[in-house]
């Protein structure tokens, strides 16, 4: 399953990364080399083996639905790149001015 340059461009779009031409070239080479090493997994027959997603068989953990101390508005906005009047300012997504 060789990764093509087009695959890398598609995945970059999914990952919200804009890669330069040189980065795309390097990434294509490196992903292929890493995935080649990973293909060794295919020599194992894993039919009937349950996937392991967590070290322990844990179930969902609930807490009481009770209020507890939380951030103030000021704290919540502390790290916002842009904020005004108690809101996070975000880039214009509608295309308008």
């Amino acid at each position: 399953m060789a990764v093509t340059r087009q695959d890398v461009e598609h995945v970059a779009q999914l990952a919200r990364l804009s890669l330069t031409e040189a980065e795309t070239t390097d990434m294509t080479v490196q992903l292929n080399r890493i995935l080649e090493h990973i293909d060794v997994l295919n020599e194992l027959d894993t039919s009937g083996v349950e996937p392991l997603s967590h070290p322990f068989d844990t179930r969902n953990v609930f807490r009481d639905d009770a209020p507890r101390p939380s951030f103030t508005q000021e704290e919540a906005l502390l790290n916002a790149p842009a904020a005004a009047e108690g809101h996070v300012l975000v880039p214009n997504a509608s295309g308008g001015a």
Partner: protein, 417 residues
């Protein structure tokens, strides 16, 4: 002095006066948390990580945050927006990673202990390279509340100390359930101090044969043999065991760690916090903010999770992860502790592996399996090579048997004196 006065008055906490450094991926209220990444430049934490809160409450003195591989992704501490960390004994070499700054702060005697995080060996490997103790508890034993996430099914808070006793004192204060972390284990914690003097008489130790490849440097191999000999002299039995799926560790780890990382790092969008590129386009923000290794891992993880490849890579890796985990369960039916080298070599040169990501990933060959299985592990100093560079051996135990590691580790430490 406040500390002297409180000790004299009998009201001092168990870590009173202890100097501790904190890896740059923990939140400390009112201080920056940067993960050695440009994307978190200027980020100010609004709250304390639970483990930070617990050591502060116990009287520890935080002296600063330590450099690391960006988002804990690396084995050499060369992937940092702040620049590399250098080895304390040889400035042309790496200290290991990703918790390289924390390891060096302890190894150089700047602090008594330091916090790190261990996702595939990021505490144990730098401890081995710098000649100190590096402890990775059972998954869920230490709260991760306030630790910036890398790979959530593997991430563990870990810590460094010059010796096993300081490590045990840190552990005693930090371990235990935290309602703020849903993955934190609701189990009682065994006091780690009594095991320090327990010895190893009757302990059954296994050396996994797959972890002693023929390609191993004889000098490194000799350190493992010396540790085994010391355990025998102390009354332990040492035998060969097999972990048949060991060779699949790095492929499985790579897929799972990177898939989880690509998901966790999707939060860096430049909207609520962190770097925002001029114009605010998300792809520009992320491309400016992330370094090359982080981009590589996000790309690989996104690929492994994308339509058409999910079953072939991610599901497949999760199935083999179970086989690796079952290997440990089976081995621990016959032995109490596993003994391996922590890393396949000693500290390597700056630049030696940075252009070859695969070779870098293979630095975690002996450590990543403990994260896949969720078991505890510790790296303990075990001598030096001809250049005087430290060698570490790794001890692994059953889930929640940290006590077994404190006993075996403290014994080995005493045997070398």
């Amino acid at each position: 002095m406040d500390v002297d006065a409180s000790i004299a008055a009998g009201g001092a906490g168990p870590l009173a006066g202890m100097l501790v450094a904190v890896k740059d991926n923990f939140c400390v209220a009112g201080h920056d948390t940067g993960c050695a990444s440009r994307i978190l430049e200027g980020f100010r934490a609004q709250y304390d990580a639970t483990v930070v809160r617990r050591i502060l409450d116990a009287g520890a003195i935080l002296v600063g945050r330590t450099n690391m591989d960006e988002f804990a992704m690396g084995s050499s501490n060369e992937n940092s927006a702040y620049g590399p960390v250098l080895h304390p004994l040889d400035a042309t070499r790496v200290p290991g990673g990703s918790s390289g700054g924390s390891a060096v702060a302890v190894a150089a005697g700047i602090v008594h202990a330091a916090l790190g995080s261990d996702t595939g060996g990021s505490v144990r490997q730098p401890a081995s390279f710098t000649g100190i103790v590096g402890f990775k508890p059972t998954y869920g034993r230490l709260s991760r509340y306030g630790l910036v996430a890398f790979a959530s099914s593997l991430d563990t808070v870990g810590f460094f100390a010059a010796g096993m006793e300081d490590a045990a004192r840190m552990y005693a204060v930090m371990a235990g359930h935290d309602p703020l972390d849903a993955t934190s284990a609701p189990r009682a914690v065994e006091d780690p101090l009594p095991p320090l003097s327990r010895g190893v008489a009757g302990l059954r130790i296994g050396i996994p044969e797959e972890y002693v490849p023929g390609s191993l440097d004889p000098e490194i191999r000799a350190a493992l043999d010396r540790a085994a000999e010391a355990f025998r002299a102390g009354g332990a039995s040492v035998r060969r065991v097999s972990l048949p799926h060991a060779k699949y560790t790095i492929p499985v780890y790579t897929i799972i760690a990177m898939a989880e990382a690509s998901s966790n790092l999707s939060r860096y969008d430049g909207v609520r916090y962190g770097h925002r590129a001029a114009g605010g386009v998300m792809a520009a923000t992320r491309s400016e903010g992330f370094g090359p290794e982080v981009k590589r891992r996000v790309m690989l993880g996104t690929y492994a999770l994308s339509a058409g490849y999910y079953d072939a890579y991610y599901r497949k890796a999760q199935r083999v992860r179970r086989l690796i985990s079952e290997d440990f369960t089976r081995a621990f039916e016959d032995v109490d502790v596993l003994l391996t080298l922590t890393a396949p070599g000693t500290a390597f040169s700056l630049g030696e592996k940075i252009d070859d990501p695969l070779q870098m990933y293979l630095s975690d060959t002996f450590t990543a399996s403990a994260n896949l299985a969720g078991i505890p592990g510790v790296s303990v100093p075990a001598g030096t090579d001809a250049r005087g560079l430290p060698i570490g051996v790794q001890l692994l135990a059953r889930h929640f048997d940290e006590g077994g590691l404190f006993a075996a580790g403290a014994f080995l430490e005493a045997a070398r004196r």
